[in-house]
Symmetry: C2
Amino acid sequence: MNLNPIQLFDTESSTFTYILTGPGSNQAVIIDPVDHHWERDLRHLERLGLQLVYVLETHAHADHVTSAGKLRELTGAQAAVPSGCGIAPAELQLNDGDVIRFGDGEEIKVLHTPGHTAGSMSYIWRGNAFTGDTLLIDGCGRTDFQSGSSDALYDSVSAKLFSLPQETRMWPGHDYKGQAVSTIGWEKRHNVRLANRSREDFCKLMSELNLPKPKLIDVAVPANQNLGLPHGA
Amino acid sequence: MNLNPIQLFDTESSTFTYILTGPGSNQAVIIDPVDHHWERDLRHLERLGLQLVYVLETHAHADHVTSAGKLRELTGAQAAVPSGCGIAPAELQLNDGDVIRFGDGEEIKVLHTPGHTAGSMSYIWRGNAFTGDTLLIDGCGRTDFQSGSSDALYDSVSAKLFSLPQETRMWPGHDYKGQAVSTIGWEKRHNVRLANRSREDFCKLMSELNLPKPKLIDVAVPANQNLGLPHGA
Ligand SMILES: [Fe+2]
Ligand SMILES: [Fe+2]
């Protein structure tokens, strides 16, 4: 049965953080927590009586710093990250096809969806796809840094994400318009960047975006590759 | 089994809107939709393939205008509102103990929880309590207008809401600190206004808040009593 995650939002970077928990156990997983919200996120776990067992990252973010290291330290959870993102201190280096198990039979499937960054992963749980910045609601992540590739993103979305069951709920890594959730089927039919578009057309569109360099990138990427902990700590 | 709702947020008034849907049917219910988000909310229903059958209001709001009338008009859903709020054009005037049925056996129980306003209702669905402005996360709604009463709010919370199963997830009508959800048990033990406080102490505290009059109240309350539709429409 589809279970919705708990969705939390960071207004500064428009980043979503997700808490996943299933019936029959108080174990929980958090995806993409944000540095200055570590107390808020711990309070949610406490209020709901949840025990954090894994902190997952979809990729090494360029626009905000993770609280993965801090949450790991304070809860005893393990950090689980894409193997291709250079996040060395994490316990679990995830590869395509891996399954993360928690709670009473809950399973998260790991899907390698490169393009926004070379290492980016999506996570599939109970009819939900957590797509990080690979696929956004009516959009997608940029592909012009961190070994990003429009070609790779096109393949990840058209061959992998759009092949999921069409009713799969799609929970993005960011949203800038107050949206919360979509479905794979809707994005396949309507996503302004990716629906019914040829590879050439998509790559041309992405190459012409001319986006400014993210303000935090030079600080955030190395910080996130250390789970948000001070280097040398 | 506890199913989380889909939670949407209005940054202007810090209001939460909720979409509820269960397995085996595409019928859905929306609680407390906000006027200028009607398109966003319809897009969520469309993306998830949902058919709106009821628009619920927890009370006649003083700080924002509902889109209930608009959504009703555009979807054919029925408006269901607390009988004591003077919202005349709604199809269903709800009373304490009523049950709203939708989808494949989904049931929403109606609990009269006066105090923030005389008519305020809470809605209970699958281990979730939607408490409107009666009970907020680590707080509660004000009681100084719309026949509000600190005495009544104290009774609603201590006798009714705090008697629900302690693990019930509590989804408030507003939050001003980026929080999403709590539990009845946590609020009973820790809510700064209501946990372990005598009636006298609570009423004194509420009488000393000296809050400014809500900017929108003279417009919003009459508008909401007409489901957000222009009068005479
Ligand atoms: Fe990113
Ligand atoms: Fe209110």
